[in-house]
């Protein structure tokens, strides 16, 4: 049930999910999670806590070491993804934007990149082109359509990577550190875009350590600990005011600095908490 008491379908469910990188290093451990349709869900945690791994598992890119994952009630596994019908069903509904757009962009030009998804879905060329141009207009990258990806700036690459996923019209968007390394203007644009997409019905799952992004999106938050466990799940307001939790998972830290001759010690997050103690 959502806040209005309406039945909302569970989109992604993780049941005791664990993954060990190369069967040696634990990346996520015993995660239970539910992402509901139309939800904005943020996975936050310090570097190396397993955020990216969790997103890749939600996209069926890496197999779980133990536990299970479901998309709209269907189990996502190496076996189920070998079934052509399910692979198509799943991949056209769940889009993944990688942290590093360089690894994601592989077509000769921006336009080819945007057309890749729709053409795979066997959408007519005319409609595919319409989609590509509409997305370029939305992202403000029409002038880049004939450029190869290596001739783009970081922000432009990120926009193209998002656009290349959006042209297939997925229901769920998995975004790995979407605002990382971008200038403030592009960051602001992406936040507005994410809110607009969510308003249009898209389910968003974002992996980030940027607490201001979590605050701006007012997402449901899952906090990963440095031991790769889901420490707490709750609303952005509840999580962001839980200083003890954020300190424990290393998302904020104690910090000493000087104002003239006065030295201060306070909790520091580069976001909300910059409160001086007396």
């Amino acid at each position: 049930m959502d806040l209005r008491g309406e039945e909302v379908e569970k989109m992604i469910v993780l049941d005791s999910a664990s993954y060990k990188y190369q069967d040696i290093i634990s990346a996520i451990s015993n995660i239970n999670l539910e992402v509901r349709e139309g939800e904005r869900f943020a996975i936050i945690g310090a570097n190396g806590s397993g955020k990216t791994t969790l997103l890749q598992i939600m996209n069926g890119l890496i197999p779980l070491s133990s536990g299970r994952i479901f998309f709209r009630g269907h189990e996502v596994s190496t076996k189920s993804l070998k079934e052509k019908g399910f692979m198509r069903f799943f991949r056209e509904r769940v889009g993944y934007v990688f942290q590093d757009p360089d690894v994601q962009l592989f077509c000769p030009t921006v336009l080819d990149e945007l057309l890749y998804g729709p053409l795979q879905l066997e959408i007519s060329k005319e409609e595919a082109l319409d989609r590509a141009f509409e997305i370029m207009k939305m992202l403000g990258i029409e002038n880049l359509k004939d450029r190869p990806s290596y001739m783009l700036s970081g922000g432009e690459k990120k926009k193209v990577a998002i656009g290349s996923v959006l042209t297939t019209n997925p229901e769920v968007l998995l975004l790995d550190e979407p605002t990382n390394g971008l200038d403030p203007k592009t960051q602001c644009f992406l936040v507005e875009l994410m809110l607009a997409l969510n308003e249009a019905g898209k389910t968003l799952v974002i992996a980030t350590h940027d607490l201001s992004l979590v605050d701006e999106l007012q997402a449901t938050v899952g906090v990963l600990s440095e031991e790769h466990r889901m420490e707490k799940t709750g609303s952005a307001i509840d999580i962001l005011k839980d200083e003890e939790l954020l300190l424990r998972v290393n998302l904020i830290h104690e910090h000493i600095h000087r104002h003239g001759d006065m030295a201060h010690r306070h909790i520091h997050s580069h976001y909300l908490f910059h409160r001086h103690e007396k």
């Binding site: 190369q22 070998k82 229901e171």
Partner: protein, 307 residues
């Protein structure tokens, strides 16, 4: 805000289920990537086993490199099965004392020994290659023949001397591999490189090998990520043609990235004072434990030689 959004993004896909369309083919791309994943996995396993608190892990890399060189000579000098088996047992005990996972450790060694030791040497056990006492006849002709420089006897089969030779050679390969793997699984790659300086290998060459190894792992990771990115956008089976096109594009990308990374590393070296000659950090002095283990290994080698 909705005005922003193209109308097609507001259309919801039909809910419900999917149609069964049969199994998707596993592309050669996936198989190839699997091998790259294995290479990374091997590196991780080695790193993990080198950081265990075992017997050889605590010994200075120079001692281990000298031990390896000394025992490789011993392995090639001993020509009887008894001594070779004794050496195998000695390495087995060292592997156990070093807390290595024995099954994983010997799986690869046995495979490589079978291919490069046993299979390659096996034809030499036939009486076509060398005469001897026939113990296992396998084919019978009506009469013996001469073929070029070979004498084909009436009965072709394995000889006692030949089988002995195959056993010795197989054991030698097995022992040499066990020794090399023992060092690789108990010493980190950078330590091995530094220790190679005892053989007066130039620092420049060692630096290049070290950088190449680091680059290999780095690019294997990038390649793995690129493949995952491709997989996440893959809705249908990937045809061989489009897989080849993707590979070609990605090779260009990796090439560009390598060049860019190389330039960046060089700039970083310059900014940190590089002016031509390469200086690799020096080793600490050997400790009492290193000397003790070194002496023990040396004496063990002499004993095996004497036997």
């Amino acid at each position: 805000m909705r005005d922003w959004i193209p109308s097609f993004l507001l259309v919801r896909p039909s809910l419900g289920s999917f149609r069964l369309e049969g199994k998707a083919k596993i592309s050669f791309l996936e198989k190839g990537l699997h091998h790259i994943g294995e290479a990374i996995s091997t590196a991780y396993r080695q790193w993990e086993s080198t950081s265990r608190n075992g017997f050889l892990q605590g010994v200075d890399a120079r001692v281990k490199i000298l031990f390896m060189a000394f025992f490789l000579v011993i392995v090639s000098l001993k020509r009887d099965i008894g001594s070779a088996t004794l050496i195998s047992l000695f390495f087995f005990v060292l592997a156990i004392l070093s807390q290595l996972k024995i099954t994983y450790f010997y799986r690869k060694i046995l495979f490589l020994t079978f291919v490069f030791g046993f299979l390659i040497a096996l034809p030499s056990a036939l009486n076509v290659a060398r005469e001897g006492e026939l113990v296992l006849p396998i084919f019978h002709f009506s009469k013996s023949r001469e073929l070029w420089i070979y004498h084909i006897p009436e009965t072709i089969g394995f000889t006692k001397e030949g089988l002995h030779g195959v056993a010795v050679l197989t054991l030698r390969v097995f022992n040499s591999l066990s020794l090399s793997f023992l060092i690789l699984h108990t010493t980190s790659f950078p330590e091995i490189l530094k220790a190679l300086r005892v053989f007066k290998i130039p620092d420049t060459l060692l630096l290049i090998i070290g950088l190449s190894y680091k680059y290999f792992l780095l690019f294997a990771r990038i390649l793995e990520e690129m493949y995952l990115a491709k997989k996440s956008r893959l809705i249908r089976d990937l045809s061989h043609g489009s897989a080849r096109k993707w590979i070609a594009g990605r090779i260009t990308f990796i090439f560009g990235k390598t060049q860019q990374r190389g330039e960046e590393v060089f700039k970083a070296m310059l900014s940190r004072g590089f002016s031509g000659p390469i200086h690799i950090s020096v080793f600490a002095k050997l400790g009492r434990w290193d000397w003790s283990v070194g002496t023990f290994l040396f004496l063990a080698g002499v004993l095996i030689l004497w036997i």
